[in-house]
Point group: C2
Chain length 190, copies 2
DNA sequence: TCAGGTATTATTACCTGGTACTAATAACAG
DNA sequence: CTGTTATTAGTACCAGGTAATAATACCTGA
């Protein structure tokens, strides 16, 4: 095998370099590791590291996924059922962008986002804004779990609605919350 | 000029298509707009739209900064000041991804996310999870506004902490909330 | 000391998704 | 029917690769 494990060390360095900054060409890598460009290519092949453009594309896509996980759509999660003005149900799968790196437990605000956007969506009005919210996290939610949120309009008068949301994983409640939502006419808003 | 403004309409469509999904080749664009690839190139040149790889790179690079202000990082917003265990301050600029398309008003869960992640960050522990939260949205926050959130640890005993968060725009309070955060040892967690 | 293996480098053909430039048409307005 | 703009076509070239083949370099065990 390699006399002094130079290859191994180099490949580790290569991985470290790319982890730090994936936007580097093979030529630059070859340069900074003091080997030929072919060696870099072989190393990448060996380690299963894709080419620059592919790396950039992966970063770009990952980034958009993260953006969409909290902000892209009107609704956070997937709408399963809705009876406008009465109740709505949505599903949110907990992906790696939503969890703490250390514990793989979902950050509270993602569960909140699902519940809040559902509470807003269930209101049968052009525009609805959250007034107050009170939520309780019953147990941590893990990476990969599928959270079903159910929002029910439990009361309210005029432009003010009370919405109760319960989120559960496999029937076990993980979060519950009470939202006060205000519906607004378009004219008083713009 | 153009007889029926076809060029203008096509260029608008082009921009719309790329806004929606920047990861499309000229060939695919040409195909879906029913023109030749050269026309697409001319249109891009005309509109100052860079090539695919450059667009992907911009998404990957440019948005990393924006991303960190959204959900990827441990904190939503930019940390301005922190005294672990006592208080912390963060800043969140409201971008177009965070608002309702119709009203350009921030969705509640973005403000909640800023506050929640700040409340978790201020706790001086390896792992901290939100137990309960109670928030009140005092007035809508508009696109472009800069929200400053201040989290203060106001009490708690053992592994349980009460954190009070107040968010404001130009000194005017837009949201306030009370969070109960639980600090967890690593061993009971894994 | 030398055969045999791994590691590295070089070379070449080819690919995608372009830029930049030139030239030929097409469409239309006056 | 002529001039102008719009569109399409074609060619040369580029970055940053893949894939394959061949030529060295290096080390190691017998």
């Amino acid at each position: 095998m390699a006399g002094t494990g130079q290859k191994l060390r180099r490949q580790e360095q290569l991985q470290a370099l790319l982890q730090e900054n994936p936007f580097v060409t093979d030529e630059e890598l070859a340069d900074s590791l003091g080997v030929s460009i072919q060696t870099i290519r072989l190393d990448r092949l060996n380690l299963g590291i894709p080419e620059l453009r592919e790396r950039v594309r992966q970063v770009a896509e990952g980034v958009t996924a993260q953006l969409k996980s909290l902000s892209g759509a009107e609704l956070v999660g997937e709408l399963l059922d809705v009876e406008l003005g009465h109740q709505a149900i949505s599903l949110l799968a907990i992906t790696s962008e939503m969890v703490f790196a250390k514990t793989k437990l979902a950050r509270g605000h993602h569960l909140f986002a699902q519940a809040n956007s559902l509470a807003v969506a269930v209101i049968d009005a052009n525009v609805a804004l959250t007034g107050t919210a009170q939520v309780k996290f019953r147990r941590p939610v893990k990476l990969g779990e599928r959270v079903v949120a159910k929002a029910v309009v439990v009361g309210g008068k005029g432009t003010r609605f009370n919405v109760s949301v319960s989120s559960s994983v496999n029937g076990e409640e993980v979060m519950c919350g009470e939202f006060v939502i205000f519906a607004k006419g378009l004219e008083e808003d713009m």
